[in-house]
């Protein structure tokens, strides 16, 4: 079995895994990082979104071996020194979760949305809704998620 090494949330992590091991399995089962969820396993729901080299990707649809040497950030890597990331803080503030199952992937995808539009003066609600295309929430009706992202935009722009 190959040994795969990647930097996860700033820490170098290595583990033996099969070639067919998905990144999400590597994170959850080999590293104990169970914050990244599997909702569908068919690339539709977005519960498994993590950042690979700065870009949001569905970790149920990339192999661990593909990510040798990559820099991965998961939901566990967002809070710094006991302080929530602004996107997490706004999800809390705006009650953007109920059961919380979709939330880790939702937050990672949401940060991706803000990152893509950081250079623009404003973020349109329509853009947020369109770019949440790949993330399903079965509880909230999306409304508060959209509000949270809109509120995080100026905070993350700095």
């Amino acid at each position: 079995m190959p040994t795969v090494t990647m930097t996860v949330n700033g820490k170098k992590m290595s583990a033996e895994c099969e070639n067919r091991t998905l990144l999400v399995q590597f994170l959850r089962e080999k590293q104990g990082l169970t914050g990244t969820h599997v909702g569908c396993d068919t690339t539709q729901c977005g519960a498994c979104v993590v950042h690979i080299d700065g870009l949001p990707v569905k970790s149920c649809t990339t192999l661990a071996v593909q990510n040798e040497g990559a820099k991965i950030v998961t939901i566990e890597g967002l809070a710094k020194d006991g302080k929530l990331h602004p996107m997490q803080e706004m999800f809390r503030e705006h009650h953007a979760l109920q059961c919380g199952f979709c939330t880790p992937g939702m937050v990672m995808a949401a940060i991706g949305i803000v990152d893509r539009h950081k250079g623009e003066p404003t973020l349109a609600e329509k853009t947020v809704r369109h770019e949440l295309e790949g993330n399903f929430c079965r509880c909230t009706g999306y409304h508060n998620i959209v509000k949270a992202i809109m509120a995080a935009f100026p905070l993350m722009k700095g």
């Binding site: 070639n19 067919r20 977005g46 593909q66 790949g134």
Partner: protein, 265 residues
């Protein structure tokens, strides 16, 4: 998913050699189609060869009247490229309509066109623009590339390296997306270059095709009204729970009209 041997290819030659010498070799670019297929055990390759590590397979450039896009170029990159937006804005737009942002961060133009899903977006542009497909051993004209459902002119172990898109005077792309997957129920790409017009349709049939009658009418009068009365036959078109063949035939005319309006506007 069954297990397989995995190799990061070091060059196009290396990738081709590994795939052709394996008992059942498969290229992988974005994995956005291949990995779901493997998960469902619909394929059981002995070897998966990763193209992401091949130097020179990704990238966008303009040379004269040609826009050149490398096979490993991801949808998000095509969507955001200043060169593509300037040369063929409709193509940048098309790339931004594929799936969702996470899928666009991985999926590639080469993987999409190699796969030739009947509902994929890029095939409409490849046909509509009359692109040339470059492989490791030859060039293939768009008109002789798409053969049938998931069937192309590619031979076993043949690797797409890049696409050359002639830059048109104007072009437009409109799709009627499946509300769940965003794949095209019907998508129409229209391009006008001088006195010539091409109309490429995806989603409607087993693979992308042209509509010569619309092309002729648009060459005479490049306006939505020119195609309004032109209907394609539903014979041989796809029919599923999302849309009947008759409805798809209807949508071809509607999407063509809107694509022309976009191109003309």
């Amino acid at each position: 998913m069954y297990d397989f041997n995995y190799r990061k290819a070091t060059s196009a030659d290396d990738a081709v050699k590994t795939v052709t010498s394996a008992s059942e070799g498969k290229f992988m670019s974005g994995g956005m189609t291949l990995i779901p297929t493997l998960k469902q055990r619909l394929a059981k390759p002995s070897d998966v060869v990763d193209l992401a590590t091949v130097p020179g397979l990704a990238g966008i450039s303009v040379s004269g009247k040609m826009l050149v896009i490398g096979a490993m170029t991801r949808h998000a990159v095509v969507n955001g490229s200043a060169d593509v937006k300037k040369a063929i804005p409709a193509l940048a737009k098309l790339a931004g309509l594929i799936g969702d942002p996470q899928v666009r961060n991985r999926g590639t133009i080469g993987g999409s066109v190699a796969n030739s899903d009947p509902a994929a977006d890029y095939p409409a542009a490849v046909i509509g623009l009359g692109a040339t497909i470059h492989t490791n051993k030859r060039t293939i004209a768009a008109d002789s590339y798409f053969k049938g459902i998931f069937e192309t002119a590619l031979e076993a172990g043949e690797l797409i390296t890049k696409f050359e898109f002639p830059i048109p005077d104007r072009a437009g792309y409109m799709k009627f997306p499946n509300p769940a997957s965003r794949y095209a129920v019907v998508g129409v790409f229209v391009a006008k270059t001088g006195g010539t017009v091409r109309v490429g349709v995806t989603g409607a049939g087993p693979c992308a095709f042209r509509v010569p009658e619309m092309e002729k009418a648009l060459a005479a009068n490049f306006a939505p009204a020119a195609v309004e009365a032109i209907k394609v036959s539903p014979n041989g078109l796809n029919s599923d729970i999302h849309a009947s063949a008759e409805y798809r035939a209807h949508l071809v005319t509607v999407m063509a009209k809107r694509a022309v309006a976009e191109a003309a506007g």
